[in-house]
Structures are given as C-alpha cells and as structure tokens.
C-alpha cells in the first residue's frame, strides 16, 4: 500500500469524459469576474437571501439588546417575582408585559433572548474563525511540506479526532470551572481538525498540479508559491467550511450551557435558557421557555447552514452538482 511516487502523467485525453461536459466545454465561457458571478448566483438563490436576512436580523437583535431591555424596562437578569410568576410560582406566558413570556424566576424571556444572542453569535463567529485559522495553517503546512512534518501534523489531527470530545469537554470544564473564554477554547480545540484535513488534501493535490511546477520552473520561491499559487485556490473551501462551522460552534456552546458547563448563570445564553426550561421539566407547562430559545437557536443554525450551502453552490457550482454526466 505504498502511496504513489511521482508517476509521469499519461497523455491527456483529447476528448472530455462525458458528453455533458463536452457540451459545456464547447459552450463559450463569457467574460465574467468570479466575484460578480458568485453574487449573481447567490442572488438567484432565495434560500441564501432568506438566510442572510435572518442572520442580519439576529445580529441586529443582539446588538440592540440594551435597547430591547430599555424598551421593555426589564434587565436581562432582573427578576419580577410578582408580575412574572403566577401566585403559585408558575411563570406567566406571553403577554403585553412579557412579550415572549417569563421564566421560572420571573425574568423576561425576550430580553434574555436578545442578550443570549450576543453570546451565541460571539461564540459561533469567534470560535469558527479561530478554528479555521488553525485548520488552514495546519492543513497548508502539512500538505505543502509533506514528509515528516505532514506525518506529525496528521497524527496530531487524527489524535484530536479520536477523542470523545464531549466527554473531555465536560471533564475539562468541570475541573477548570465554566467560563466564556474556556467554552470558546474548548470549541476551537475540537473544531479545527475537519478543515485541516480538507485543506491538507487540497494542498497535496494542488502541489502536484502543473501550474505549481510551472511556478517552480520559473524560479518562484516557496513562499511565493504558497501565497500566490496555492492559497487563492483554497479560498472557496475556507469560506464555505468556516460558514458551516459557525452553526456547529453555536450548537456546541448551547450544549455546554445546557449541561450547566458553559456560560455561568445568571448571564443569559440560549443554552442555559433551555437548561432552565428542562430543569424539572418546567417546559411542559411553560412551553415558551423551550420554543423561544429553541426556535431562535434553530433559526440561526439553519440560516448559517443554508448560507454555507448557498455559498458553496455559488462559488463552486460544479462540485455541488457532481459530475452528473450520465
């Protein structure tokens, strides 16, 4: 099972493989910049437009959280035990006073939702960007240098991938004490591996492409090859992968908070709002406590996933449709 040594390439086939590809090749390619083409494709995709709108809405909601608090007159951790709870101590449902209801301590779910959005977005975006940076660096270095460097980095990647991550995460958080930075660190630590593998594979493939050899034969330095020849070809997977990493980071954070290991109460986050709802199965009588944060969480992750898919289709239409020749 030895990996292939550099084999001289066979003569290229003069005719493309499938009929449909041949037809497509024969069709004249019009002069269009790749970015404008991408935007044109995105604009044609209602799912992408919708998800961008949802994301922008939630971002505005998160930024405007203090405004929401001021408008309702309820602070995010303020308890209204007299107005927010029924005499028997049961939280009140959506009403004029509490638009989205109150929780078990009589806090306004709407206000907490807004502040919780800050946490979700912050964790999602920061963790994915950090993780994708690590993934790209590891992947590019491993793929470009190959040899022992690649072996070591790939083994480390495999190692992190073979760890039961949720178990380790809760052990880690339990010992070190829950906090926002630790949540982000844990998420980053367990998220970079996927992208690292993808990028490594791409770089290995690109490294043997003729245009890299052409650059080498012109006397280009390694740095020049890496940044000018290889990196531009990685933009698509990096953008798509990072976008798709955001929703999983958001869910990861919510899961940690749900298990009581993420954001420390009383600071609101969507995860610990759901944990409050689950506590003593309270949500069975106060449904809004699960529907509101749960729905928001679903909307946000769904929007990012749809956007990621839309971006992939727009940036790299051939890949998503497969080579559907026959």
């Amino acid at each position: 099972m030895s990996l292939s040594t550099s084999k001289p390439p066979a003569p290229r086939l003069a005719t493309p493989k499938t009929a449909a590809i041949a037809a497509r090749n024969a069709a004249d390619v019009q002069l269009r910049g790749s970015w404008s083409l991408t935007f044109a494709r995105l604009r044609r995709d209602p799912a992408s437009i919708g998800s961008i709108a949802v994301i922008l809405l939630i971002v505005a909601f998160a930024i405007g959280a203090p405004l929401v608090a001021a408008w309702t007159g309820h602070g995010p951790t303020e308890q209204f035990r007299d107005t927010g709870l029924s005499p028997s101590g049961i939280p009140v449902g959506p009403s004029a006073e509490f638009l989205l209801g109150a929780d078990q301590l009589g806090r306004d779910v709407l206000v907490r939702l807004a502040y919780g959005a800050q946490v979700s977005l912050l964790v999602g975006v920061v963790a994915s960007i950090a993780a994708s940076m690590i993934g790209v660096v590891v992947g590019v270095v491993a793929g470009f240098f190959g040899g022992p460097v690649d072996t070591v980095l790939s083994r480390i990647t495999d190692l992190v991938m073979s760890v039961p991550f949720l178990l380790c995460a809760i052990a880690l958080v339990a010992v070190l004490g829950p906090s926002l930075p630790l949540s982000i660190a844990v998420i980053v630590f367990f998220s970079w591996t996927g992208l690292a593998r993808v990028i490594r594979g791409q770089v290995m493939a690109l490294r043997h492409r003729e245009f890299v050899e052409a650059a080498r034969s012109l006397g280009a330095s390694r740095t020049s090859i890496m940044f000018r020849d290889i990196l531009p070809n990685l933009v698509v997977p990096i953008i798509v992968y990072t976008t798709l990493m955001i929703p999983s980071a958001i869910v990861f954070e919510a899961t940690l908070s749900f298990l009581g290991l993420g954001i420390v109460p009383p600071t609101p986050s969507w995860g610990n709002m759901l944990a409050d709802a689950a506590n003593g199965s309270l949500y069975l009588i106060a449904w809004w406590m699960v529907v509101v944060p749960g729905g928001a969480l679903l909307a946000l992750t769904l929007a990012f996933n749809l956007l990621g898919d839309g971006l992939r289709d727009a940036l790299d239409p051939a890949a998503s449709k497969g080579g559907k020749g026959a």
């Binding site: 001289p8 390439p9 003069a14 041949a22």
Partner: protein
C-alpha cells in the same frame, strides 16, 4: 441494408449558461456489416450524438428519429430501451479504466451483462465469459476471470470492454474513441481486434474518433461532424483522399501525419463557434477559406455520384489556401559566442525512486544525450517510458540519482541558489495540459507577468506593456489581459503557457506534449506558432511527445525512449527511413500513414435544402432518381 437510420436528429442540452445545441439536424444511415466512422473535433457533438441515441445523456432533449431494426429508439420506453442496450447494441468507451467498475472482477461484470438479458445459469454465463475473454486474446483467461480491472494494462482492459460489448452478439457496436486513451502501438492492436471481431461476429461498428488517421485505417464510410452538424459523409477513401467539404480538407491539411515534414502545416484559422448560439448559416463559414456571402444561409445538401454527401454551398473542389509564410531563421541565441554547439549534455543519468518494499523503481536508466543549440530534439516514447521525467531532470526540477546534467557548461547539481535562479531564466518549460498548467484563480496578465515578477525585472506599467507585447506575439488579444484562464479555449491557453515560457527570452524551451490535449486544427496553429518563435527568437527546443507524426514534423533529431532508456537516437529522416530497433519499428508501424490525395472524380447529383420535406429542388433532373435512394 440499413441497420441504423438517423434522421434529422437534434440534441439540446440545457445548462446553467443556456441551452447547448449539441447536435443540429444530423441524418445518416449505417448499413449492415459496415465499419462506419464519425470524425470530429471536441465539441463537434459526435459523442453526445451517439450517447443520446442510446439514451445515455441525462437531461438531453432530442427530436428526430433513430430507426434501428424498424424501431424508433428515441420513442422507446425505458424498459424497451434497456433490452436494446447491451443486447442489440453494445458500447465501448474511451477510457477502459474508468469505464469498468473498480470494485468488481472483470468476469463478474461480463457475467452480469449476460445474465441481465438471458436466463442462463451462472456456470454457463461464466463459461461464455471465459470464452469471450479468450477470443479477445486475454492470456490465461480462466484465471484472469477473477481479476479486478486495475490489475490489467490499458490495452487489456479495452479488450475486456470489447469482450463485454460482444457478449450477447449485438447487431451494432458503438465504439466511442476506443483507442484515444491508449499508446499508439496498443491502439493499432485494438483497432485490428475490433475489425476482426466485427467480421467474426457479423456485427456492424460505428466508431467515433477525433483522429482522421485512425479512421482512415479501418472505416468503410465516414461522417465528418463540426459544431453539432454533419459536414460531409461518404466512402472513406473518397472523403479522406478527395474531400469535398472545405472543413474536411482543412482538417487534413492541419494534420501533421498528412504533411511533408518541414513544410508548415496549414491550420484552420479561428476557433469553433459557440454551441449556445450557433450561427444560422454554415457553422464553418467564419473559418472557411472558401467562404462566400451566401454561406450565411443554411447550406444545401449536395449529393455526388460517388455517394459523397456534403453540406456546403461550394460547387467545385475546396481551394488550397497558401501555406503560412515563415520568417527566416536567426542564429541560435547564446550569451557566450565561444560556447560549444551543444546547449545541454546529459551524462549517464539515472533516476530511481525508492520503494517501501522491493527494489527501487528505476525511471531513468543510463541516459546520455546532447541537445544542440538551435535544433529541435524530439523525445518519443509511450506512457511511462520516462520521457517527461527526463525533461524535468534536464530542466533541473528533479534531482538525478546518479549522472550529470550540464547546461551550457554548468553542471546543474553544483549550482548555488543564485545560479539556479538565473538558470531558470535560460531554460523554460511548456506543459502538456493547458488546463492544469495555468492557475485557475489568477488573471492571465499576472500569469504571463510571473517571470518578470519572480526575477524582479519589470513592474507596474512596464510589466504590463511587456505582457501585452508577449500576448500580441503569441496571437492573443492583449485586451484580454484581465481575464481568467477558464475564459480561454484550450489552444489559447497553450498560447498563454508559451507566452509565459518565452517571456525572459530563454535559450532552451522544453515542450512537454505541448499539443497532445488540443484538437487537430488547433494543434497546427500552435505548432506553427512554435516554429515561428523558434525562427525569430533563435530558440532550442526539446520536444516531448507520444505522437510520432507530430515529432517527425517538427524535429531535427529524434530520440526514442523505452523503459527509461534511450534506445535509438538519429536524424528524423534517417530514423524514419531506416529504424534500427524493433520497438522503433513497431512505433512507426503503428503511426498513422499519410493519406494520399487524389483529385476528385465526382459529379454533382442533386442538391437539397436540408429541413424541407417532400421532393427537394432538383438541380440535375436526369440523375435525381439515382441519387435519391442510395
């Protein structure tokens, strides 16, 4: 008797960019027992056409009729079509490796086909499969029955495909570029086998190829396609020896095997029209040397008394455009006028890759070679013979295991970093694959400007001016400076690669299969460009190719490689006239022979407007009856 009758076939394929009109109003008849060839360049619609006849093109919209043994294949339902496929019409595809399922044994795959159509026992099917494998001359067929496709060589795999296509004794075999992916010596064997099997099984063969030379060898009749249309159809001797259509004539003129070595090829100018918006008149008009004003109207179908049918307005024979005039050659460039005549010396070069298990694999073995200043040295061999690796070693891109490469008196392995960089200015490489050798994410201007950037020679407006001058020189529109490689055709991309290679005025250019991926008419353009550049810039070429006819056409001397060694090296002429080694002889025997040009002796019978139903306007009434039903 007609076995397959295609009338007014139209195939449209919707794509994201619009509808591709892949096949436009094509009619032809294949007679029982004949070998029918379809020739065309990429994008001519030939593959799409036969595959859509078989219902294998997803999403294609077809109209017209395809009459096969009294049934219209286009109107059959899925179940009926399924019983035609494989049982009555067998197919052979271009790349036998990717066309066989990698996870099943070849025996299993043949048995599967037999049992899909016939209710026979596993044992009986297996016995028949082994017999078929024996008949296509797979050695030790019974044992090879249980081998996987990757355990066969390319030629053997194609034999398996042929055995599979023959397994149910189909009336018609469609072979779609069956030899294109194979080495030329193997190509010849497969062609012979195909022809032999046709006779033995009494089948009819329709074979598609981009290669006129291949079809000239085997086809009884040929149809020439261009831009989704049928250009010419007739007995292959008539069509190929005295073409009636200017396109066929142009193809023959631009084929290297068909031209005297040393004479320039006569390329067909321009490139094929877009199939998204094909011209309403003759598709070839924009490139045709005989174009007239009437060519903007759809051409009539002219029939000649020798059976040739041509879609063209031209009444006489196609004209012979003058060969392009070549500039006078300048003296080979050299920085040091006292330098000796050889620019590169390779001495006992050896290159071996260590294997994890077993002995190292030897790619290059004891190679001694000299490239003389100003010459074009050809390096010929089949895939895997080490010719590309040798080129890379000469360019200094791979380090040899033993032996030396000396460039202009400097031994490559002793060069320091600075000298190595300066060497990069003097030796350049043009790569085989015009799609792979240009970075798809960078603009053409920046790709061609790379040599200036890397060596810090010109920047800003100065670099831009240099690049645009180069683009002009290689025949690209300098206004396309800001385009991406994907916006150019294969031939144009190869020009970009050439512009990049000559940017720093190198002395030696290594051309690694520079035209293998291009269509014949485009090949000629690029070969002529290379010739022209060599003359005006005084370049030395190392020309690598698997295509003997191309090499013979452009090279002064030829080195033949086999198994990592140079087995023969001689002047091009002498090597052709008097090959010494058996392998060279086999290579030469496998190469396409020149097609003799004979003056046409045919009379126009009848001309018809293609789309119109009913009796067509008759030009020569007395011959009309004869011509109508041939």
């Amino acid at each position: 008797m007609a076995l397959l009758e295609v009338s007014n076939l139209v195939v449209d394929i919707p794509t994201e960019d619009g509808t591709v009109h892949a096949v436009q109003d094509v009619s032809f008849t294949v007679h029982e027992g004949e070998f029918f060839g379809i020739v065309g360049e990429s994008g001519s619609g030939k593959s799409v056409m036969v595959q859509s006849i078989m219902g294998l093109v997803a999403g294609a919209r077809t109209s017209g009729t395809v009459d096969f043994r009294g049934r219209n294949l286009l109107a059959l339902d899925d179940e009926a079509m399924r019983s035609v496929r494989g049982r009555e019409i067998g197919m052979i595809f271009q790349d036998p490796l990717s066309s066989l399922h990698p996870q099943y044994t070849v025996g299993w795959q043949i048995v599967e086909q037999i049992r899909a159509h016939e209710k026979i026992s596993q044992q009986a099917a297996k016995a028949r499969a082994i017999e078929l494998l024996e008949r296509v001359r797979i050695p030790d067929a019974a044992a090879r029955f249980d081998a996987y496709p990757h355990q066969f060589s390319g030629g053997m795999r194609q034999r398996v495909m042929i055995a599979m296509a023959l397994s149910l004794g189909p009336a018609l075999i469609i072979a779609d570029e069956p030899t294109t992916a194979l080495d030329s010596t193997v190509q010849a064997q497969i062609l012979d086998l195909l022809d032999e099997m046709r006779r033995e099984f009494g089948a009819t063969v329709v074979m598609i190829s981009h290669d006129l030379g291949v079809l000239a060898r085997v086809a009884d009749r040929v149809m020439v396609m261009y831009a989704g249309r049928r250009m010419e159809l007739g007995e292959s001797a008539n069509v190929l020896c005295s073409p009636a259509h200017p396109y066929t004539a142009g193809l023959l003129r631009s084929s290297a095997f068909n031209r005297e070595p040393g004479t320039p090829l006569v390329p067909i100018a321009g490139r094929p029209p877009s199939l998204l918006a094909p011209p309403s008149g003759c598709a070839f008009a924009s490139r045709c040397p005989d174009a007239m004003s009437i060519c903007s109207e759809r051409p009539p179908l002219r029939r000649y008394d020798d059976g040739t049918e041509v879609a063209c307005w031209l009444e006489g024979e196609p004209g012979e455009p003058p060969a392009p005039e070549l500039p006078p050659a300048v003296e080979a460039r050299s920085d040091d006028p006292a330098a000796d005549a050889s620019i590169v010396r390779v001495e006992s070069l050896r290159l071996a890759f260590p294997q994890r298990r077993g002995p190292a694999s030897v790619v290059l073995d004891d190679i001694t070679l000299e490239v003389r200043r100003g010459e074009t040295l050809g390096l010929v061999g089949e895939s895997g013979c080490g010719k590309t690796t040798l080129a890379r070693a000469i360019a200094g891109l791979v380090a040899p295991t033993a032996g030396t490469v000396t460039f202009d008196g400097h031994e490559l392995s002793t060069l320091g970093r600075r000298e190595w960089r300066s060497l990069r200015r003097r030796v350049q490489v043009v790569f085989q694959d015009p799609f792979g050798s240009l970075n798809p994410r960078r603009r053409v201007g920046s790709i061609i400007g790379d040599p200036f950037r890397i060596h810090g020679l010109a920047s800003g407006a100065e670099r831009r001016a240099e690049v645009q001058e180069l683009m002009e020189l290689v025949g690209l529109n300098p206004e396309h400076y800001n385009r991406f490689p994907s916006q150019f055709s294969g031939g144009q991309r190869q020009r970009i690669g050439i512009a990049r290679a000559i940017a720093l005025k190198p002395e030696l250019v290594i051309l690694d299969e520079p035209v293998s991926a291009l269509d014949v008419s485009i090949q000629a353009q690029v070969l002529n460009l290379l010739d022209e550049l060599q003359r005006t810039l005084g370049l030395t070429y190392l020309f690598i190719s698997h295509d003997l006819s191309v090499v013979r056409h452009v090279c002064d001397r030829i080195a033949v490689m086999e198994g990592g060694r140079i087995i023969e090296l001689d002047d091009a002429d002498r090597l052709y006239r008097d090959p010494q080694q058996p392998f060279t002889k086999r290579l030469l025997a496998a190469a396409a022979p020149e097609i003799p040009r004979t003056p046409a002796r045919r009379r126009l019978v009848r001309a018809a407007r293609p789309r119109e139903a009913g009796p067509a306007p008759v030009l020569l009434p007395e011959r009309a009856i004869e011509g109508a039903r041939r």
